[in-house]
């Protein structure tokens, strides 16, 4: 009898840990429950598709001509590449990805009462496409720009 109870207990605790693993793996996406939480998984994603999927929970992204990336086509210093993203779409958020970086997601701006604009300076390991993904009315739009880098900015 005591043996049975022990079995049941083990089973129960295992179910609990499965849930914890699911949360850890991002299956339950706690980041979506708490919007203010920093999206750790998206920032650690190793390729563009994973990063977009992890950040927005969807990879259904449409190319858009309504987004403009303003940046130098040739950057001398990959450690500081100035970049501006502009859009006429009613943007809820603007995310910046560097496709060839080890971890593509550079940052995301969430706009509550601000116009479709975000500017920053990004690090680029080597020449790469820079991809801007914009969420507007629940849909994802993106555009990209190839930037050449003479000296990379991610090594040590």
């Amino acid at each position: 009898m005591t043996k049975m109870k022990r079995r049941a207990f083990l089973k129960g605790s295992m179910a609990g840990s499965v849930l914890a693993i699911a949360v850890g793996a991002g299956l339950l996406r706690p980041t979506q429950v708490m919007a203010s939480q920093w999206p750790d998984k998206a920032f650690k994603a190793r390729n563009l598709a994973d990063a977009v999927n992890s950040l927005y929970g969807s990879s259904d992204v449409a190319d858009s001509k309504a987004i403009k990336i303003r940046a130098p086509l040739q950057a001398e210093n990959g450690a500081k590449v100035p970049i501006q993203i502009l859009t006429d779409l009613p943007a809820e958020s603007i995310a910046v990805f560097v496709k060839e970086n080890a971890m593509p997601l550079a940052g995301r701006a969430n706009l509550r009462n601000a116009s479709g604009f975000f500017s920053t300076r990004i690090k680029m390991g080597k020449s790469s496409d820079v991809v801007a993904v914009i969420k507007s009315k629940g849909k994802l739009h993106s555009t990209k720009l190839a930037i050449k880098v003479t000296v990379g900015g991610c090594g040590g």
């Binding site: 590449v81 995301r108 116009s115 975000f118 500017s119 040590g156």
Partner: protein, 105 residues
């Protein structure tokens, strides 16, 4: 540790642009010290909030792909000279800062 910060506002394309500069190493955690061969721990700003007259208008989630001494720009829908502007940021080591400024066009 107090960090050097700068907040500037200007009119750009008919909108009020806010430019924020924070002196911060934005260390990736991927580099190692050339002499000791030890990894330099990551140290970077993770979140930044832009608050206009007490109302959050925008925020940013940042990663290690943002350059050292990050410069961030936002364009506000409506703001006028004298409006209170507050910037709050936090990094991965729990360090944080608040900058109080004003819209000055």
């Amino acid at each position: 540790m107090a960090r050097k910060t700068k907040v500037r506002t200007r009119m750009q394309d008919g909108k009020v642009e806010v430019l924020i500069l924070i002196t911060h190493p934005m260390e990736t955690g991927l580099r190692s010290d050339k002499k000791t061969k030890q990894k330099i721990p990551a140290h970077f700003i993770q979140t930044l909030d832009v608050i206009l007259n007490g109302e959050p208008v925008a925020n940013a989630e940042l990663g290690i792909g943002i350059s050292t001494n990050p410069l961030l720009g936002f364009r506000l829908n409506s703001a006028k000279t004298g409006d209170k502007l507050q910037i709050k940021w936090k990094d991965n080591k729990g360090e944080s800062g608040t900058i109080n400024s004003k819209v000055d066009l």
